[in-house]
Amino acid sequence: MKVKYFAWVRERIGKAEEMVEPPATVRTVSELIAWLAKRDEAYAHAFETPRVIRAAIDHAHVKPDAAIAGAREIAFFPPMTGG
């Protein structure tokens, strides 16, 4: 699946998007965050406070317990500050 990052999450990880293939044991958004955070220090820094990270699956907001099965695109970003 494609993963996208925005704002300071993107800056800390150092890329805007990538393809990832998590193992089958990674079933939810929060499990995917935990799995990504273990990759290296940059990911660990980006996801150091999981409760502030917002997520969207296929362009719709989702909660941390949302299932990721079937997702084409998952995005992680900080709380929004538009308007």
Partner: protein
């Protein structure tokens, strides 16, 4: 008559008078038009702001605004609705966002515009980065924006 919402995410500035006219021109069924425009401030507290840079999530920004525009049209009797949100670098005094609502009576137009702005603040995927003297940083979300959006939730 139900008019589909106009939603635009763009880098360029917009002309508020032109957008209002586009909704109401030639219509005799509209009795009220409300417009809200959000403008880049030149200071935050005692700090001067040189510019804001807005990052957005293309595709989701349109989808998320459309979801709330559809909800606004189902909750209030609107005869027209326009939402424009800019991205990129914006300097103090420049427009950031525009919401225009048209209805037969003012109450629906006022309420729908406020509803949309409250949701744009908390759920449209845009992030502001602030440039001020010698430093840049991401603007932090404000709790009172969440509170403002939450009051529209149906229980």
């Amino acid at each position: 008559m139900t008019t589909p919402a106009t939603i635009r995410i763009q880098q360029d500035d917009f002309d508020i008078a032109k957008e209002i006219a586009a909704l109401s021109k030639g219509r005799t069924d509209i009795g009220a038009v409300v417009s809200f425009s959000g403008i880049c401030r030149g200071s935050e507290g005692d700090e001067n702001i040189a510019a804001l840079t807005l990052e957005h999530y293309p595709g989701m920004a349109e989808a998320e605004i459309k979801r709330h525009a559809d909800e606004a049209m189902s909750r209030w009797p609107l005869d027209g609705l326009t939402v424009i949100h800019r991205f990129g670098r914006i300097e103090p005094g420049e427009n950031i966002v525009l919401v225009v609502t048209a209805s037969k009576h003012r109450q629906a137009a006022f309420q729908a515009a406020e509803f949309l702005m409250d949701y744009l603040k908390t759920s449209a995927p845009f992030w502001k980065r602030e440039e001020s003297a010698g430093r840049t940083g991401w603007v932090e979300a404000r709790e009172h924006d969440d509170t403002a959006a939450a009051r529209w939730s149906k229980s």
